[in-house]
Amino acid sequence: MKKLKKIDLRVSLAGLKLKNPVIAASGTFGYGTEYTGLAEPGDFGAVITKTITLAPRPGNRPPRICETASGMLNSIGLANVGFEAFKNDKLPRLVEKKAVIIANIAGNTIEEYVELAKKINKISHIPALELNISCPNVKQGGIAFGTDPSSAAALTKAVRKVYKKTLIVKLSPNVSDIAAIARAVEKAGADALSLINTLYGMAVDIKKRRPVLGNITGGLSGPAIKPVALYNLYKAYHSVKIPLIGLGGIMDHRDALEFLITGAVAVQIGTANFVNPSAAKDILSGLAGYCRENNITKITKLTGILKC
């Protein structure tokens, strides 16, 4: 038997070096320690925290999740312990795990984002920040930052001013023209983009004649949205030069390959963590196997090789 060649799985996101391209998506891997025994932060190239806000948030009324055809809806409502408790209680335990930590944050106003970004900037254990810009912007009348290029740009610019490390902006697919948002955010100083967040969705309980979710509507994730995610990635890849992180419905290494080939430097795993906590490990060995079979020595060679 031939000796297995070692595949170089390292990737770099605008200076942020990761040992592999598989990242845990925000909100699906908690604060990094909940899966102990099933999956470890160190299995991933990086772990993105649940969205953190300045003050703790209780989240939305239950039920908060519901299965749909090849997908799930969630209306967690950014439930989180708030920045202080994150820093004091959650972070130290995650730091022990020696994984690359990316903090994901959200705010109701640009000021809130900026304040949080400043605080995160000071934490030496956190080398990168992901902005969740898909939450309602109260000041702008309920329109999310993520759906308007100029608001997205203004937000990114303001955060860029105070945040000195790797700045990732996570885009919403609930837009007509992802390219416009991607370009605006790139120009405003983002180092990388993650796409996509969940699609707006809803489900109805026909027996109770009520929405299944306590919050009425929620965000759709899982295999059902993979085609939409790939479409958005494809459009963004042809609009910006900064590195892209693809996500949405990735369950196995074949899914991950679709994203890499379309233009992603790295991928995030969300819903798959619930279904199969060893998804990251399985995907990594699948990626290595694919590279081996195809005589590819570095995973970065796959990015954007789509022939159109």
Binding site: G27, T28, F29, G30, E34, Y35, G37, L38, K50, P58, G59, R61, P62, P63, R64, I65, C66, E67, S70, G71, M72, N74, I76, A79, G222, P223, M251, T271, N273, F274, V275, N276, P277, S278
Partner: protein, 258 residues
């Protein structure tokens, strides 16, 4: 907790109109589980239909075999009922916080409504091995839904009177509680039943633990998808803080989640 891939099914047999018991051999899980804990099962490993895992209480542990007792409710449990011993499952467990057995209590009353019988087999066996006096108060809709149990039954009720006393299991509870000393109640069943049991116990100042249900995604406290409202108004996740809670911790005025 651990994830056990490709678990071969040992048996999958019908035990009543709509209920089945399924067993599989996982020595590690069998050894470490406590009554009231649950397993989170991926019903069709390799396929994504259904997508999410399904949580089931551990009904019993026999040697290194783990047994669950389930009712066909929707498409996931329908699929499970058709699975045969040559098929495999992907099982995570043991998960959650089980019943907290108070060794000082003189009388341990198990109250089960419908499929709420599921965790009681394991709890009864544990109480027996601890030589703690225990009995089961068991309510079901009708005799056709009655599931045989090893535990000593003190009373049975049924909605249609086809077995035991006609009526709700909760109507038997007050008398029973009167007749015994220093009791503790462990209850599992539909939300309205648990609510009634909790109220009765709280009124009599009798400790009561309830096992709750909720839609679940991660099963380990990471997603915050399975929360219920607690009596202090905050949300608590059922999968890791429960599924068994002190009944006083729950806000019983909320709508049932499942």
């Amino acid at each position: 907790m651990k994830q056990y891939h490709s678990i071969q099914i040992a048996s999958n047999a019908r035990v009543s109109d709509k209920a089945y018991t399924l067993s599989f051999k996982i020595p590690g899980l069998a050894k470490s589980a406590d009554p009231g804990q649950f397993v989170h099962i991926r019903l069709s490993p390799g396929s994504n239909h259904p997508l999410l895992r399904r949580p089931f209480s551990i009904n019993d542990i026999r040697g290194d075999k783990v047994e669950i007792l389930y009712e066909v409710k929707g498409s996931g449990t329908e699929l499970l009922s058709q699975i045969s011993p040559k098929d495999t499952l992907d099982v995570i467990g043991p998960l959650g916080k089980g019943f907290d057995i108070d060794l000082r209590k003189r009388y341990h009353l198990l109250v089960a409504g419908g499929m709420g019988i599921a965790p009681m087999g394991f709890l009864g066996r544990r109480l027996k091995s601890l030589k703690l006096k225990h009995e089961l108060l068991y309510g079901c809709r009708s005799s056709s839904e009655l599931i045989p149990s090893d535990i000593k039954i003190c009373s049975i009720s049924s909605d249609d009177g086809s077995c035991g006393k006609k009526g709700l299991v909760t109507s038997l509870l007050p008398d029973k509680l009167e007749s015994c000393q220093n009791p503790v109640v462990y209850a599992c069943g539909p939300w309205p039943m648990l609510k009634a049991v909790a109220r009765i116990c709280q009124n009599k100042n009798i400790p009561c633990q309830v096992s709750l249900e909720s839609f679940m995604a991660c099963g380990v406290g990471a997603c915050q998808g399975c929360v219920v409202r607690s009596s202090d108004g905050s949300y608590i996740s059922v999968c890791d803080k429960g599924p068994v809670f002190d009944s006083r911790l729950i806000d019983w005025d909320q709508d049932c989640v499942v």
